[in-house]
Protein backbone atom coordinates (compact mmCIF):
# COMPACT_ATOMS: atom_id res chain seq x y z
CA UNK A 1 0.00 0.00 0.00
CA UNK A 2 3.04 2.26 0.11
CA UNK A 3 2.62 4.47 -2.92
CA UNK A 4 6.05 4.99 -4.44
CA UNK A 5 7.80 8.30 -4.04
CA UNK A 6 6.76 10.76 -6.73
CA UNK A 7 3.95 8.58 -8.03
CA UNK A 8 1.13 10.85 -6.87
CA UNK A 9 0.69 14.07 -8.83
CA UNK A 10 1.34 17.18 -6.66
CA UNK A 11 -2.38 17.97 -6.37
CA UNK A 12 -3.24 14.56 -4.89
CA UNK A 13 -0.12 14.50 -2.73
CA UNK A 14 -1.20 17.80 -1.14
CA UNK A 15 -4.85 16.71 -0.97
CA UNK A 16 -4.15 13.60 1.13
CA UNK A 17 -1.72 15.51 3.36
CA UNK A 18 -4.37 18.10 4.14
CA UNK A 19 -7.00 15.45 4.80
CA UNK A 20 -4.68 13.49 7.12
CA UNK A 21 -3.31 16.37 9.19
CA UNK A 22 -6.39 17.02 11.37
CA UNK A 23 -6.59 13.30 12.26
CA UNK A 24 -2.96 13.22 13.32
CA UNK A 25 -3.51 16.35 15.39
CA UNK A 26 -6.53 14.76 17.12
CA UNK A 27 -4.51 11.60 17.66
CA UNK A 28 -1.67 13.45 19.39
CA UNK A 29 -4.18 15.16 21.70
CA UNK A 30 -5.75 11.79 22.47
CA UNK A 31 -2.34 10.24 23.16
CA UNK A 32 -1.49 13.06 25.58
CA UNK A 33 -4.78 12.47 27.41
CA UNK A 34 -4.27 8.74 27.67
CA UNK A 35 -0.79 9.13 29.15
CA UNK A 36 -1.90 11.91 31.51
CA UNK A 37 -4.76 9.79 32.85
CA UNK A 38 -2.94 6.51 33.22
CA UNK A 39 0.85 6.15 33.10
CA UNK A 40 0.53 2.38 33.00
CA UNK A 41 -0.94 2.62 29.48
CA UNK A 42 2.51 3.54 28.14
CA UNK A 43 3.59 -0.08 27.85
CA UNK A 44 0.38 -0.97 26.05
CA UNK A 45 0.92 1.95 23.66
CA UNK A 46 4.51 0.89 22.96
CA UNK A 47 3.32 -2.64 22.32
CA UNK A 48 0.60 -1.47 19.89
CA UNK A 49 3.20 0.54 17.97
CA UNK A 50 5.62 -2.38 17.98
CA UNK A 51 2.96 -4.63 16.47
CA UNK A 52 2.55 -2.19 13.55
CA UNK A 53 6.34 -1.97 13.17
CA UNK A 54 6.75 -5.76 12.98
CA UNK A 55 3.76 -6.60 10.79
CA UNK A 56 4.33 -3.80 8.29
CA UNK A 57 7.93 -4.93 7.82
CA UNK A 58 6.95 -8.46 6.80
CA UNK A 59 6.65 -8.79 3.05
CA UNK A 60 4.64 -11.95 2.66
CA UNK A 61 3.74 -14.06 -0.37
CA UNK A 62 0.11 -14.22 -1.41
CA UNK A 63 -1.79 -16.77 -3.49
CA UNK A 64 -2.11 -14.17 -6.25
CA UNK A 65 1.64 -14.54 -6.92
CA UNK A 66 2.74 -11.18 -5.56
CA UNK A 67 3.95 -10.08 -2.16
CA UNK A 68 2.58 -7.54 0.23
CA UNK A 69 2.63 -6.77 3.93
CA UNK A 70 -0.02 -6.69 6.65
CA UNK A 71 -0.70 -3.44 8.51
CA UNK A 72 -0.91 -4.45 12.19
CA UNK A 73 -3.14 -1.49 12.99
CA UNK A 74 -6.02 -3.56 14.40
CA UNK A 75 -4.67 -3.83 17.95
CA UNK A 76 -4.21 -0.09 18.53
CA UNK A 77 -7.55 0.67 16.87
CA UNK A 78 -9.30 -1.77 19.22
CA UNK A 79 -7.45 -0.79 22.42
CA UNK A 80 -7.27 2.99 21.98
CA UNK A 81 -9.42 4.02 19.02
CA UNK A 82 -8.31 4.82 15.50
CA UNK A 83 -6.88 8.28 16.27
CA UNK A 84 -4.05 6.69 18.20
CA UNK A 85 -3.35 4.29 15.32
CA UNK A 86 -2.97 7.33 13.05
CA UNK A 87 -0.10 8.70 15.14
CA UNK A 88 1.63 5.33 15.52
CA UNK A 89 1.35 4.70 11.77
CA UNK A 90 2.73 8.12 10.95
CA UNK A 91 5.88 7.33 12.95
CA UNK A 92 6.31 3.94 11.24
CA UNK A 93 5.62 5.35 7.76
CA UNK A 94 8.13 8.19 8.18
CA UNK A 95 10.78 5.66 9.24
CA UNK A 96 10.01 3.51 6.19
CA UNK A 97 9.95 6.44 3.77
CA UNK A 98 13.24 7.97 4.94
CA UNK A 99 15.35 4.91 5.73
CA UNK A 100 13.94 2.22 3.45
CA UNK A 101 12.77 4.24 0.43
CA UNK A 102 9.54 2.34 1.08
CA UNK A 103 6.75 4.77 0.31
CA UNK A 104 7.84 8.39 0.17
CA UNK A 105 7.63 11.88 1.59
CA UNK A 106 5.37 13.14 -1.21
CA UNK A 107 3.07 10.12 -0.84
CA UNK A 108 3.20 10.09 2.98
CA UNK A 109 -0.13 11.90 3.33
CA UNK A 110 -1.91 9.33 1.17
CA UNK A 111 -0.22 6.40 2.96
CA UNK A 112 -1.15 7.80 6.38
CA UNK A 113 -4.72 8.25 5.18
CA UNK A 114 -5.09 4.64 4.02
CA UNK A 115 -3.05 2.77 6.66
CA UNK A 116 -3.39 5.14 9.62
CA UNK A 117 -6.89 6.54 9.23
CA UNK A 118 -9.39 4.64 7.06
CA UNK A 119 -8.24 1.10 7.94
CA UNK A 120 -8.13 1.69 11.73
CA UNK A 121 -11.33 3.80 11.64
CA UNK A 122 -13.26 0.95 10.01
CA UNK A 123 -11.81 -1.40 12.65
CA UNK A 124 -12.78 0.82 15.59
CA UNK A 125 -16.26 1.33 14.15
CA UNK A 126 -16.83 -2.35 13.44
CA UNK A 127 -15.48 -3.37 16.86
CA UNK A 128 -17.80 -1.00 18.73
CA UNK A 129 -20.79 -1.98 16.61
CA UNK A 130 -20.30 -5.73 17.05
CA UNK A 131 -19.64 -5.19 20.76
CA UNK A 132 -23.12 -3.65 21.01
CA UNK A 133 -24.52 -6.78 19.38
CA UNK A 134 -22.66 -8.83 21.99
CA UNK A 135 -20.52 -10.68 19.46
CA UNK A 136 -17.87 -12.86 21.12
CA UNK A 137 -14.82 -10.68 21.91
CA UNK A 138 -12.28 -12.87 20.12
CA UNK A 139 -14.42 -13.13 16.98
CA UNK A 140 -14.90 -9.38 17.13
CA UNK A 141 -11.14 -8.61 17.26
CA UNK A 142 -10.58 -11.04 14.39
CA UNK A 143 -13.10 -9.22 12.19
CA UNK A 144 -11.88 -5.73 13.20
CA UNK A 145 -8.28 -6.59 12.42
CA UNK A 146 -9.22 -8.14 9.06
CA UNK A 147 -11.18 -5.01 8.10
CA UNK A 148 -8.34 -2.67 9.18
CA UNK A 149 -5.98 -4.50 6.85
CA UNK A 150 -8.27 -4.90 3.84
CA UNK A 151 -9.71 -1.36 3.96
CA UNK A 152 -6.21 0.08 3.97
CA UNK A 153 -5.60 -1.53 0.60
CA UNK A 154 -9.04 -0.66 -0.76
CA UNK A 155 -8.25 2.96 0.10
CA UNK A 156 -4.89 2.76 -1.68
CA UNK A 157 -6.66 1.37 -4.76
CA UNK A 158 -9.13 4.25 -4.65
CA UNK A 159 -6.36 6.83 -4.19
CA UNK A 160 -4.49 5.56 -7.23
CA UNK A 161 -7.68 5.29 -9.30
CA UNK A 162 -8.52 8.91 -8.47
CA UNK A 163 -5.05 10.06 -9.46
CA UNK A 164 -4.97 7.86 -12.59
CA UNK A 165 -8.57 7.40 -13.74
CA UNK A 166 -7.51 6.47 -17.29
CA UNK A 167 -10.57 6.43 -19.53
CA UNK A 168 -12.93 5.23 -16.81
CA UNK A 169 -12.52 5.68 -13.06
CA UNK A 170 -14.25 2.39 -12.23
CA UNK A 171 -12.02 0.35 -14.55
CA UNK A 172 -8.97 1.96 -13.05
CA UNK A 173 -10.21 1.20 -9.52
CA UNK A 174 -10.84 -2.44 -10.44
CA UNK A 175 -7.32 -2.66 -11.84
CA UNK A 176 -5.66 -1.30 -8.68
CA UNK A 177 -8.08 -3.28 -6.51
CA UNK A 178 -6.99 -6.49 -8.23
CA UNK A 179 -3.33 -5.63 -7.60
CA UNK A 180 -3.62 -4.51 -3.98
CA UNK A 181 -6.81 -5.69 -2.31
CA UNK A 182 -7.02 -9.24 -3.73
CA UNK A 183 -3.39 -9.95 -2.82
CA UNK A 184 -4.20 -8.75 0.65
CA UNK A 185 -7.01 -11.19 1.52
CA UNK A 186 -4.89 -14.16 2.68
CA UNK A 187 -2.49 -11.76 4.45
CA UNK A 188 -5.35 -10.11 6.30
CA UNK A 189 -6.65 -13.52 7.43
CA UNK A 190 -3.19 -14.47 8.71
CA UNK A 191 -2.80 -11.13 10.49
CA UNK A 192 -6.19 -11.55 12.15
CA UNK A 193 -5.22 -15.03 13.38
CA UNK A 194 -2.18 -13.48 15.10
CA UNK A 195 -4.34 -10.75 16.63
CA UNK A 196 -6.71 -13.44 17.86
CA UNK A 197 -3.86 -15.33 19.57
CA UNK A 198 -2.56 -12.07 20.99
CA UNK A 199 -5.86 -11.11 22.62
CA UNK A 200 -6.48 -14.65 23.81
CA UNK A 201 -3.07 -14.50 25.52
CA UNK A 202 -4.03 -11.24 27.25
CA UNK A 203 -7.39 -12.74 28.29
CA UNK A 204 -5.59 -15.65 29.86
CA UNK A 205 -2.74 -13.73 31.51
CA UNK A 206 -4.11 -10.34 32.51
CA UNK A 207 -7.73 -9.77 31.48
CA UNK A 208 -7.90 -6.55 33.55
CA UNK A 209 -6.10 -4.83 30.63
CA UNK A 210 -9.19 -5.34 28.53
CA UNK A 211 -11.58 -3.81 31.07
CA UNK A 212 -14.36 -2.01 29.24
CA UNK A 213 -13.70 -3.75 25.93
CA UNK A 214 -15.38 -7.08 26.59
Amino acid sequence: MHIMEGFLPPFWAAFWYLLSLPFIFLGIKKLENIIKQDQSKKLLLAMSGAFILVLSSLKLPSVTGSSSHPTGTGISAILFGFNVSSVLCTIVLIFQALLLAHGGITTLGADIFSMGIIGPAVATFSFNLLKKFKVNFLINVFIASFLADIFTYITTSLQLALAYPGSKLLDSFVLFFSIFALTQIPLAIAESLLVYVFFDFILKSKPTILKGLI
Binding site: M47, S62, V63, A101, L175, K204
Partner: protein, 92 residues
Protein backbone atom coordinates in the same frame (compact mmCIF):
# COMPACT_ATOMS: atom_id res chain seq x y z
CA UNK B 1 0.67 -24.14 30.18
CA UNK B 2 -2.97 -25.06 29.89
CA UNK B 3 -3.39 -27.66 27.15
CA UNK B 4 -6.48 -26.12 25.55
CA UNK B 5 -4.70 -22.79 25.06
CA UNK B 6 -1.63 -24.50 23.70
CA UNK B 7 -3.76 -26.38 21.17
CA UNK B 8 -5.74 -23.29 20.11
CA UNK B 9 -2.66 -21.13 19.58
CA UNK B 10 -0.73 -23.90 17.91
CA UNK B 11 -3.65 -24.42 15.48
CA UNK B 12 -3.89 -20.67 14.75
CA UNK B 13 -0.15 -20.26 14.11
CA UNK B 14 -0.19 -23.47 12.05
CA UNK B 15 -2.95 -21.99 9.92
CA UNK B 16 -0.85 -18.84 9.36
CA UNK B 17 2.08 -20.96 8.15
CA UNK B 18 -0.29 -22.97 5.94
CA UNK B 19 -1.71 -19.81 4.32
CA UNK B 20 1.75 -18.68 3.23
CA UNK B 21 2.93 -22.13 2.16
CA UNK B 22 -0.21 -22.45 0.06
CA UNK B 23 0.85 -19.38 -1.93
CA UNK B 24 3.89 -21.29 -3.23
CA UNK B 25 1.95 -24.48 -3.89
CA UNK B 26 -0.86 -22.81 -5.80
CA UNK B 27 1.37 -20.45 -7.72
CA UNK B 28 4.75 -22.13 -8.09
CA UNK B 29 5.89 -20.13 -11.12
CA UNK B 30 5.04 -16.69 -9.77
CA UNK B 31 7.82 -14.24 -8.98
CA UNK B 32 6.12 -12.83 -5.84
CA UNK B 33 7.20 -9.30 -6.63
CA UNK B 34 5.86 -6.55 -4.41
CA UNK B 35 2.30 -5.34 -4.96
CA UNK B 36 3.67 -1.79 -4.51
CA UNK B 37 5.91 -2.25 -7.58
CA UNK B 38 3.04 -3.77 -9.55
CA UNK B 39 0.97 -0.72 -8.66
CA UNK B 40 3.70 1.55 -10.00
CA UNK B 41 3.85 -0.53 -13.20
CA UNK B 42 0.08 -0.22 -13.63
CA UNK B 43 0.39 3.55 -13.30
CA UNK B 44 3.03 3.62 -16.03
CA UNK B 45 0.76 1.51 -18.21
CA UNK B 46 -2.23 3.81 -17.66
CA UNK B 47 -0.10 6.92 -18.13
CA UNK B 48 2.92 6.14 -20.28
CA UNK B 49 3.97 9.80 -20.18
CA UNK B 50 3.94 10.11 -16.42
CA UNK B 51 7.28 10.98 -14.90
CA UNK B 52 7.61 10.70 -11.12
CA UNK B 53 8.19 14.28 -10.01
CA UNK B 54 10.11 13.40 -6.89
CA UNK B 55 12.55 10.63 -6.12
CA UNK B 56 13.58 9.23 -2.75
CA UNK B 57 16.04 11.45 -0.88
CA UNK B 58 18.09 8.41 0.03
CA UNK B 59 17.79 4.83 -1.13
CA UNK B 60 19.65 2.13 0.81
CA UNK B 61 21.66 -0.47 -1.13
CA UNK B 62 19.78 -3.84 -1.27
CA UNK B 63 21.88 -5.43 1.49
CA UNK B 64 21.41 -2.46 3.80
CA UNK B 65 17.73 -2.42 2.98
CA UNK B 66 17.19 -6.01 4.08
CA UNK B 67 19.24 -5.28 7.21
CA UNK B 68 17.04 -2.29 8.04
CA UNK B 69 13.89 -4.36 7.43
CA UNK B 70 15.19 -7.06 9.76
CA UNK B 71 16.17 -4.41 12.31
CA UNK B 72 12.69 -2.94 12.15
CA UNK B 73 11.10 -6.33 12.82
CA UNK B 74 13.64 -7.06 15.57
CA UNK B 75 12.99 -3.80 17.44
CA UNK B 76 9.24 -4.43 17.27
CA UNK B 77 9.74 -8.06 18.26
CA UNK B 78 11.77 -7.12 21.36
CA UNK B 79 9.07 -4.72 22.57
CA UNK B 80 6.33 -7.30 21.88
CA UNK B 81 8.30 -10.01 23.66
CA UNK B 82 8.91 -7.74 26.64
CA UNK B 83 5.18 -7.04 26.86
CA UNK B 84 4.12 -10.68 26.53
CA UNK B 85 6.71 -11.70 29.15
CA UNK B 86 5.44 -8.98 31.47
CA UNK B 87 1.88 -10.29 31.05
CA UNK B 88 2.89 -13.88 31.56
CA UNK B 89 4.71 -13.27 34.81
CA UNK B 90 2.55 -10.56 36.34
CA UNK B 91 0.10 -11.63 39.03
CA UNK B 92 -3.49 -10.61 38.58
Amino acid sequence: MNNIYFFKWFAAIGLVVLIFSLAFFLNPSADFSGADDKGAKAIKKLNPDYKPWFSPIWEPPPETESMLFALQAAIGGIILGYFLGYLHFSKN
